[in-house]
Amino acid sequence: MPHFETGKYAFFIWTAYGITAAVLVAMIATSLAHAQRWKARAEALARK
């Protein structure tokens, strides 16, 4: 079973995991937003 005791290193470990989560979420969000934006634009122009 996982155990989450990090003792005196808590700051370094949880900061590393926090930054990783933030950057991964940002990469997912920007990638999906970029694709959705241009898909909508391309489809709108194709309908004209």
């Binding site: 590393a16 241009w38 122009l45 194709a46």
Partner: protein, 242 residues
């Protein structure tokens, strides 16, 4: 059997393939990532590093992906430069921000591991400096593409920069062998097998595979975005010409 690059070089086929492949790679990344984190946090603390060994389960995959994404960028740039293939250029362009993101993660997590283990967040040793140079090359690539209005010229200039920057990959890889560095030598992917104990090795491997799947998924999503962007701009140009 049709070789994968030839099959994917057709934009219509690529869009059909990536439509189901991107979410599939994303789902694989989630499953592998959860398994890797579960095993990693269930592993005992390292006898020297203590609990900071948990940072390595996210640092090693990020460092691996920083280089892997650049290798993808360089190969796509070469194909775009030699064959003038639009999809290869879109693939190169799409890889850059993802590679930069993984490089930032490698530097940040490595720094947070280094402070308690080495006593410093940063040292100008060959490994750390060459990875910082990798980040700067990614940023230069993106800045160069953004600075030129002519897309064909931007693609050609950026592809040349990407190929020149590929020289940094072997420097990163062998820096720990060529120079006396504070960063330890290769311990996971090395001739003669891994130096890690199995309780640490398998979580690292699962996390590397999870990061690779995540990169694959996001890369496909970004290439699709690039294809749509180019279609939209071509349609807008046609409309403007009447």
């Amino acid at each position: 059997m049709i070789p994968a690059p030839a099959f994917l070089s057709n934009p219509e086929r690529f869009m059909a393939f990536s439509r189901w492949a991107a979410p599939m790679f994303g789902a694989i990344a989630v499953v592998l990532g959860l398994a890797g984190l579960w095993l990693g946090w269930a592993a005992p603390e390292d006898y020297q590093q203590g609990a900071t060994v948990r940072i390595l389960f996210i640092h090693i995959p990020a460092a691996w992906l920083a280089e892997f994404a650049y290798a993808c960028l360089a190969v796509a740039s070469l194909l775009a430069l030699v064959f003038r293939h639009v999809l290869a250029d879109a693939a190169a362009q799409a890889a850059a921000p993802l590679g930069a993101g993984f490089t930032v993660l490698a530097l940040a997590t490595g720094s947070l591991w280094g402070r308690p283990m080495w006593g410093t967040y940063w040292v100008w040793d060959a490994r750390l400096t060459s990875v910082l140079a990798l980040l700067l090359i990614y940023l230069a690539y993106m800045a160069l593409r953004a600075s030129l209005d002519d897309e064909a010229k931007a693609a050609r200039a950026a592809a040349i920069l990407a190929l020149v920057g590929a020289v940094n990959l072997p420097i990163i890889h062998y820096s720990v062998d060529w120079w006396n560095t504070l960063h330890q030598g290769a311990s996971v992917f090395r001739a003669g097998g891994s130096a890690l104990a199995p309780v640490f090795y398998w979580p690292v491997i699962l996390m590397v595979l999870a990061y690779m799947s995540a990169f694959g998924s996001l890369w496909l999503v970004r290439i699709r975005g690039e294809v749509w962007r180019r279609r939209a701009e071509a349609a807008a140009l046609r409309a403007a010409r009447g």
